[in-house]
Symmetry: C2
DNA sequence: CTCAGAGGCTAATATCATTAGCCTTGAGGT
DNA sequence: ACCTCAAGGCTAATGATATTAGCCTCTGAG
């Protein structure tokens, strides 16, 4: 390494700080360069372009979320594991709303393995429900939709009323659990 | 009206067409002006700026969604109403994925009444479950999170596996219904 | 027939992203 | 001790885009 200086990871670090402070829309190469104390074009030595930087940021967020999720599930099973996963997920999103909003949902090869790991954790959290094959996939999708939907709306400040959000989320968790336990008619 | 020409509504129409065809990120004043056959600055005679245009677009989408939702709930009640609402919601999002992605969740005064109407419809769809006060609010939040989460992920192409999406969504609906019907342990 | 204003236009400015091409420095081989 | 070369910075230049200012021209109301 010819110089101390920047590196792709360092650029992503700075990007994350900007996202946290001013939201995903404020993530611009100019802003990153300014913080790095470097001219904008210099960043291209570390990152292909803005689009790629966004993907890298998203990947980092996904990794953090995976960390949180995996810790939540560790040593638990059944409803407890599921609730812990859901709580961890929401709490991460609530702690870092901008960062969570920077998550790119459209599948990208660069974040494919991180995404798969995350899905693996959800599958693990559902293991106790004895879902087979496709049933497990459907369950993961629903779990993901529920968690993500709530997280997005909460991060956007879309829940305006005074009612306690923890209670709302507890109901959401109850829906997931009872939906998995209750047999489906016809 | 001094001229046939443009109008705020016409501008939004064009904006919607662009969003539909190329996604929300392609919505730019240049693009709108080009389609309108007008110089970019002329648009400022009809719309305050790009941010406002986005809000107007979002308002239009919200109104359409309200229309779909209200039609779905009309003449139905109980599980049937809830499922019809959910199906209508998802089908709108699937039919117009870009448009759906252009929905702004952060509450804005300009779209407040449209949002309230939408929430009113969700409340109506839940009426048969006999929820009182706060309980109804929590239920609406969960319903909204579930529908929105699934719609966002589906629109983004986040569900990669081959499993049938209708089935996944049916499970989600089942979760909501059974969560509302099943009593919650303490 | 007049005239005010709605609605277009051009010119100008600022911010970004991105590319091209140059320069310096330090790590390693000789 | 040198030499070289590439990594990593830099400046200059280009091209979108948004936005503002200020001008011009119909058109419809009086």
């Amino acid at each position: 390494m010819t110089r101390a200086a920047l590196s792709p990871d360092a650029v992503v670090d700075i990007a994350l700080r900007i996202v946290d402070e001013k939201g995903p829309d404020a993530l611009t190469l100019s802003a990153v360069a300014a913080r790095a104390g470097v001219a904008t074009p210099s960043l291209y030595k570390h990152v292909r372009n803005l689009a790629e930087l966004r993907v890298l940021v998203s990947g980092r967020v996904m990794a953090e979320l995976t960390e949180v999720a995996s810790e939540a599930v560790l040593g638990r099973s059944g409803d407890e594991a599921l609730r812990a996963l859901m709580d961890g997920w929401r709490s991460y999103a609530a702690r870092h709303p901008h960062r969570y909003s920077a998550l790119i949902q459209a599948p990208r090869p660069e974040t494919a393995e991180a995404g798969n790991r995350l899905i693996g954790i959800m599958l693990a959290a559902l293991r106790a429900y004895g879902l087979e094959g496709s049933a497990a996939i459907h369950a993961v999708r629903c779990l993901r939709a529920a968690m993500h939907g709530f997280a997005v709306l909460e991060a956007a400040g879309a829940f305006q009323l005074a009612e306690n959000l923890d209670e709302s989320y507890a109901l959401l968790a109850h829906m997931v659990v009872s939906g998995l336990r209750t047999p489906r008619e016809g």
